[in-house]
Subunit: 216 residues, 2 copies
């Protein structure tokens, strides 16, 4: 029986490409594609799938949340995470939530095949680069003593508005004028944002906003 694969990535050109690569292979069959996080769980309820290739950085509902939900509903599901970013918080977080592997988008096709096979068999696969990241993460782990989180906050509607304007280079003053609220209110939102995404300053805020696709 073929290994049945679901591809979940919001870039359809990428998803189509992977599909095309995989369908050339023996014993593998791409049976579905999802272009956003929300449609994955409904799909799984109607179709038999062996392994999900899951983009970590999905818009709306991100890959980590999706992963958690999927594992909750289908504890045996094999999930191979795929991402542009080789960042420790992503890797550890999605693994905590049940993913069985993590590869980067600059992975070649042989390695991709190997990863799929490994995960399908119930084992775990990491790209070489990712392994290094994890190791580096483990090194730095328990030293500051921080509970070591580093991700998914829940941004409110208003905070997101403010965040978008920050990324567009507006100052706090200007944001207040645009949204018809006081400078102090904007400052409050900024503070919450810094705390929620756990960064020190605007630079980190903008970086995480982009990496975590907080701007849709």
């Amino acid at each position: 029986m073929d290994t049945r694969i679901l591809i979940a990535d919001d870039h359809s050109m990428f998803a189509d490409g992977i599909e095309s690569i995989l369908n050339e292979q023996e014993g593998i069959q791409v049976v579905g594609k999802c272009y956003d996080g929300a449609s994955i769980l409904p799909y799984l309820k109607k179709n038999e799938i062996d392994i999900i290739l899951l983009d970590v950085n999905l818009p709306e509902k991100n890959g980590i949340e999706v992963c958690k939900e999927v594992i909750a509903a289908f504890p045996e599901m094999k999930i191979l995470a795929i991402s542009m970013f080789n960042q420790e918080s992503y890797v550890t977080e999605i693994l905590k939530n049940g993913a069985k592997g993590y590869i980067l988008k600059n992975t070649g096709r042989e390695e991709l095949m190997q990863a799929i096979q490994t995960v399908t068999e119930g084992n775990t696969f990491f790209s070489k680069d990712v392994t290094q990241t994890i190791m580096r993460g483990l090194m730095n782990e328990r030293k500051g003593g921080t509970p070591s989180k580093g991700f998914i906050p829940k941004i409110t509607r208003r905070e997101k508005e403010v965040l978008k304007l920050i990324v567009q280079e507006y100052t706090t003053q200007e944001i207040g004028e645009k949204l018809f609220i006081s400078l102090k209110t904007v400052e409050s939102h900024r503070s919450s944002l810094l705390a929620k995404v756990s960064v020190r300053n605007t630079a980190g805020l903008v970086r995480k906003a982009i990496e975590h696709k907080l701007l849709d």
Copy 2:
């Protein structure tokens, strides 16, 4: 005779995927792939190519520079730009430099085929989203009167070091300590960076740094 295609993208999984899609098609043949900007021109000198699928956001030497060089050496070369970002400055700039089309990575395979065919025939193709962006750009154009640039700077070695640390949330003070230079020197570099990428503040700097892959 088949249309001979060169794919230039640093994410090999993506490049492989596109290759796989295209090789399924009649009359099309992917004859090469480049994973960075520097290897494109040498490749073209040794191989006959009809059309290049060029990622705008290549590391090291970006897509726009590559495009310029390629057109300088091969004025008749057909270039179809592909990007994650639907941003006006990218679109207009790469078109100025000789690209014949611009599509996003969330483009489906039918549209991709259509784009390739269109461009190969010497015509111009834009994704629907991109067309809107261009229109919006034209609207806002000649009103501030700015010479309307909006991009490619040449970041020096030291500036890049500083930039990386900024993105990693270090303050000017800390950057100075890390690089063993004075706070004032770091400020100088920050100023140059703001000017070169033409943004107002750190938020814009970080955004552009990521979008333009200034951090490799």
